[in-house]
């Protein structure tokens, strides 16, 4: 059950990134680009969650996961502030 939840998180966040990037070309603002980029990092973070908790449970990747998520959050905040009036 736990593995199912972790893997689903990774899959859904990856889907978000793909869907957002598919719409970047037709968009007037760069917000979709920054959102897509942020979701790529969120997807990487969720993949790391799967690796951390299922593949290498003897190691603690929490700080790496948190740094990747921080990158995602920072990118999206930058996009929200810079690309919008």
């Amino acid at each position: 059950m736990a593995a199912f939840v972790y893997i689903l998180c990774a899959i859904t966040s990856s889907c978000c990134a793909v869907l957002l990037f598919r719409n970047v070309r037709g968009s007037k603002t760069g917000l979709l680009f920054w959102s897509g980029l942020a979701f790529i990092f969120l997807a990487i973070g969720n993949l790391l969650l799967v690796v951390d908790l299922l593949v290498v449970p003897q190691y603690d990747l929490l700080i790496v996961r948190n740094l990747v998520t921080l990158s995602a959050v920072s990118l999206l905040l930058f996009g929200l502030i810079w690309e919008t009036e």
Binding site: S13, C15, L70
Partner: protein
């Protein structure tokens, strides 16, 4: 040392998610576009999810169930993007 740094970054992430939710809420208020409402809700859920994760770690009651909130947030975003695409194709 590692856990202090990890908690610090985790706190920054939580605040970041909530701030992003606020931005999207502002866009929704201005445009009334349900796309922004969904994003605001999703990031609010992600922020709350982080708080729940931290609380569950503090009380040593960590379960995979806390990650279900992430699943809900991402599903909301997928739904919002898909709905937006369908609306653009129609009109």
């Amino acid at each position: 040392m590692n856990s202090i740094l990890s908690n610090f970054i985790g706190g920054a992430n939580t605040f970041g998610f909530l701030l992003i939710a606020l931005f999207f809420a502002k866009f929704w208020k201005r445009t009334r576009d349900p796309f922004f409402r969904a994003f605001a809700l999703a990031f609010l859920i992600l922020g709350i999810g982080r708080i729940v994760e931290a609380a569950s770690r503090l009380t040593h009651a960590s379960t995979p169930a806390v990650y279900v909130l992430r699943l809900v947030a991402f599903s909301l975003i997928i739904f919002a993007v898909a709905q937006k695409n369908m609306r653009s194709k129609k009109g």
